[in-house]
Subunit: 428 residues, 4 copies
């Protein structure tokens, strides 16, 4: 496999940290053993965990006010794949990439697939784009795509989604994620029910083109880019969609797409209970769809989501897709994605440590104090040594960001990839 | 029919305003006629509209910090009925009362029903109470009722709901509203899925006891009295309940029970579309479940809800229940309920004025400017003369609050009903 | 004065509506007279009211996801001025334009000023831009501008603001509005106190360059483009700034820049009380800084703001600047600005109708029912005839949007101004 | 000193955990030493930390819907002091109690003070109560207290606050906390400015009675019990109050009293910067003023607050008061207060571990990745062994809740204190 980061640099970085890691791992192992937990079992589970990286995430993001590009920005999907390979090489937690069409469109899909293989990367869910107009497009999405009042516009959006499936089939993907910007900015602009009926009809056409071993994920979002209503505004509507479409349709939960104060882990539990949890777009946020690094704002909330996932492990047909979806406006995107992959894994490891038998008993006995402390005990555990050991064992970095910086990857690609001019964002 | 307010006082009050009302009604009629609207048709529809008054609403409400009772507080359901009769006599928009058990429990249901008839009042949906413990109760609801981990506690709550149905049958009610305080205050306290399964099982037992011509309404609420999670947290869960239970089960929407920023009128549209809108608890709020007078904080939002309702009029099986549900902490409860009944009727009248053919065309053509202005034109119309004329024609008051004050009803009952001591609220 | 809209078309449009307007105005006048209000006095006050139009508002806005340009987009400030002249010609409520530098930078300021004069437009507050990087700029604002850790970057931002003052002086402006995007995306990224100290120091340098007859407005915003913290996050910080700077410094309130549920009219009252209300950026929003048309989401909130303004009229040194600040993503920007100007004027007219003597008495007597109904009575009044009459008397349009469409202005400029390609927004 | 918990039970509990604690403490000490941190220094700082317990917190709380009392509820301040002594004995982090008047009023203040001394408890800030009416009170607070329109009502509230100062002087308290429920439920009910002027005047009268070595804390809150506006709605208004009153006046921050999404740690930083941070009411919340156990919902937010406090340590006149303020509706209040005291201490310990030199450098260099990871590294550290060792060294419990349960304190007092009947909460 092609290595983006020099293995000598990586080894040297790991060697510097090996002794401390051993000591910390041993101390943690001893502590966990007291509770009957074998640390190596946890490490093995963590090592088997993977989260998909979004191809668009390796570019610097922006807001409607501005975008401040970094250096060495990827120019196309092949550059992006190399950046993704760095992330996977160092974290060993991101074995797949999720593509966005037409941004990642190429002439030769075989070449793309082979490049992925060479870099040790598979292809996760495909993402369609009907929230932007592309040059030469017949119909504009200004007033909607799959829910547009005009049948030809809807058909164009349907065709695009089917094209995404076709591309995905060639690449080995098994899922299509559909997020639309459709909605309205003013009361009265759209008829809620007719609009949703049009959306459902269009989605049924896409669903009909879905291979038997694929899944389709619909994604809800309360606002932005539409500011009065969105067609798929919350998990309630999202559930109705998945139910209407059929057994291959599931709901995708983006952590930043909810109203303030909403209990997201409970939504996750409900979707699991009713067999419709499709997966996640992980990120963190304080205000809206801030798309910040996962776990950077409210790490306990992330843990509570994973607590539901671990609790449901082993349930029939329970197989949610895990993806990152972030906008990296002020950091090196590779660094942000590495840390986010680590944070997701951290939450998973912490959730694995929850004493579920004890928790269940406290819940049954109505002992909220001990029930909540049981969760907190797991959350408070510094599982860092487990994560680092899992990475190290798999050939990754004990300290991914330090290793990345030591290797000088960003400096290297900055020399190879021409600087992007400081293009402004959307609009004020 | 027994009149709570002296008809002489009422007539005198109306007479003072008759000439102005005629002039305003004529001017408005002329204006509406230009748009092809016959004002008398609107007035007739308004006159046929009714919203139920909550029996508990005629007492002064409070917060966990304190309750500041007013004078002449009703001592029992018979006093409450008289207060409700005042509201109906003056507004002619509140022909029914919604009872809460055990607060309104009486020994002789026939006497209660007859008293209602004598006062011109019918009985709307019954409300059960499993969010408080009653003296002598076997099992406490401290840790839940219909979703409690203990089967005996759940059965007690089921039995209570069935008792409410029995009482309602004797009174002519046709619906049961179930709102529970069940939830949790700390992550881990409750297992979301098991808790919801227990709730669904318990609701199925209640549903089984529901007469064929009854409906059962479940009510969602994001928080309070539980502060981390609630079992029926939003319309998504509420829909799942109604779907699981069967064709007599519907969702109740309380306007104050949602997360910040949520588009409530869209939830209304979704529930209509999927045949599960049961009805409303009308009130207004700025922060949480503030239970303020309907339309007092965001009258345009109330209008947008009614816009959906008028749009759906005539649809099959579309028959939502309209109820007020407010807490009157600083006003005379009778005055607040009268003004709220008027505000609900105002929103209905405004929604009737929406030019739906034009609106539909603007929506189809993606003309958000004219579509939103079409709604706004209706909202901006001062329909006061229509409401006043409808009341006057039906024997009510042109100006309900002025007539009420002129009649001195509060002063009168203050003399008859002993003062309640300044009992403190729940707790800090 | 140069007229953008053919006076013949305008007259014809007005003539069609003249008779109805007379009737409606007369009916409303009669109604108001009963309460001792002379409608012509109100109309005169309304006619004297003006709100500034933002030069950037006449272009189609967008989000970070996409921008969907309309036809006939203005290419530069001279095109923008013509669009603004249309708005002023038809509404007679927008006599001034607020410029944004460097977007509106020109070589010849005299030419610009004269063009404004020819079109009947004056120049309102100047707006600086340190939230975007410009080509050839020495220092990037990626990590801040006036609060940047680097002194040279701060100086660059200071110099730019001083340049804006210089441009404004040439144009007759009397105020500088400073909104920055400075903040942080992650806990720890910035030291709150040091960052704010740097900001204050930089603002003091700008303040020192402010002419004696100018004002400087600082604008607070809770989030976006920064998503964890912003330097000027709320009115509390904004007040501290104005206080630190001195008597020419004031706070600007953008209606969409607050946390959910916040009582904005109360903030307005506090700033008035402490002598620091500088003015407004009017718009409406449901979720965040949605920048929707003023009054389109919550018209009662807009009225409550104006209620505070009218209440404070006549107070010493009370002279807030009124400006629109919106993003028109799905409408014709000229139409949105016209309707928004009308809505602001409507709220003003309604606030003028509040019976303040009665209100004050009800407040004193603790009669919340009558106090709140006193406000509502004013809000419910359909003041449309007053607004239309004020426009008509001043040579504007009875129905601005209808007249605008009848005149075919957008079609005309679409032929003259080359189509903008469907450039994408910032980023996903 | 009188011990509420049998020292034999406590020793036995501690002995069971001694060996594991030693091992964990040693392992953590080794890890910290690598970063140049001496664990014993941290432990010493933690041992010196204290947070006040609210006397009202040891009783079971409730909501407006219901209160579900526990067993062994304290009957009066002497019972409460004993419960507080349990908390202090086991956690060694709560050396003082904060009283609420008139709830904790006694005839003999000397007896009360001596009882505190005997139990090892001092008296923290006094709390006045003008949000409830007391039996026999001349004027009702239904429509406000310190801001009431009636001068006699205001004077009554002023006198009560001065009485609280007098009581506090006898007990050795050095601060008065003023939280009022004043506000309004409907637009128009109150004149914002006049209301605030009345409040300021009243506060000045209280301030005039404040001893020279006392501080007065005003507390802001966005809503509840008032639901449209509150007089002291946010930190901006709170700052103005402290500024108007003088150098002994400071702002109190209750973590649950803010609008959704607000950045509380930044408010803390601003108040520190401008010399007006008085102290905290610690608790946690998800929706409103939920008053949940500190750190139970968002532990990272609590850490970020302490990060500001540790950062400011040593600044002139920086001496914020730390108090818990929670409502324990479903847990044993003693257990909740113990765990909350531990959580506050945990956040403090984590904040002490932040590498401030590194953080400062990353901030200066605009390296948000490493800056935020620096904070996270400290937060992720499991400081449990430090906290336990500090408690053990001071004679407290290694595991406070386990020791408390083992000692059977609740069972004991349940036998001594008569059961409280299941009194209902305020109102629906």
């Amino acid at each position: 496999m092609e290595q983006m980061i020099d293995s000598g640099v990586l080894s040297a970085e790991n060697d510097k940290r090996a002794k401390d890691l051993e000591a910390d791992y041993a101390a943690l192992g001893e502590k966990l053993a007291r509770n009957g937990v074998n640390i190596d079992d946890v490490t093995a589970k963590v090592a088997a965990y993977g989260v998909a990286v979004p191809s668009w995430g390796v570019g610097t993001g922006g807001t409607r006010f501005a975008r401040f590009p970094g250096s060495g920005e990827p120019r196309h999907i092949f550059d992006k794949l190399e950046d993704c390979a760095v992330i996977q090489q160092l974290t060993r937690a991101t074995p797949t990439v999720s593509l966005h069409i037409p941004w990642d469109k190429v002439d030769d899909l075989t070449e793309l697939k082979e490049r992925g293989t060479a870099l040790g990367l598979g292809f996760d869910a495909m993402n369609s784009n009907t929230f932007q107009d592309q040059d030469g497009q017949d119909h504009s999405y200004k007033y909607g795509s799959l829910s547009h009042t005009d049948a030809a516009t809807r058909q164009q959006a349907i065709d695009h989604n089917i094209e995404c499936i076709e591309i995905g089939k060639a690449l080995g993907s098994k899922a299509l994620t559909v997020w639309i910007g459709d909605g309205s900015n003013f009361p009265g602009q759209s008829h809620f029910t007719k609009q949703f009926e049009r959306y459902l009809d269009a989605m049924k056409s896409i669903y009909a083109a879905l291979p038997d071993d694929w899944r389709i994920f619909s994604e809800h979002k309360i606002f932005e880019p539409a500011f009065y209503s969105t067609v798929v505004q919350d998990w309630g509507t999202n559930y109705l969609i998945a139910k209407e479409l059929g057994p291959k349709a599931f709901c995708l939960v983006d952590l930043g797409h909810h109203a303030p104060n909403v209990n997201i882990e409970m939504i996750v539990a409900r979707l699991i209970q009713f067999g419709k949890l499709g997966g996640f777009h992980f990120n963190d946020s304080k205000y809206g769809d801030d798309d910040l690094d996962t776990g950077s704002i409210d790490p306990f909330r992330l843990f509570l989501v994973f607590n539901e996932l671990v609790d449901a492990e082993g349930a029939e047909n329970f197989n949610p897709a895990h993806m990152l979806d972030q906008s990296h406006n002020v950091t090196d995107p590779i660094e942000s994605l590495m840390r986010s992959a680590v944070e997701v894994t951290r939450a998973y490891a912490q959730a694995l440590l929850v004493d579920r038998a004890a928790l269940s008993a406290y819940q049954q006995e109505n002992d909220p104090m001990m029930a909540s402390e049981t969760l907190k005990d797991a959350f408070r555990t510094d599982v860092g040594p487990i994560l680092a050991m899992a990475r190290k064992n798999a050939g990754g970095a004990v300290a991914p960001i330090a290793a990345y910086r030591a290797a000088g990857y960003r400096r290297k690609v900055s020399g190879e990839r021409p600087a992007v001019s400081g293009a402004g964002g959307g609009i004020v």
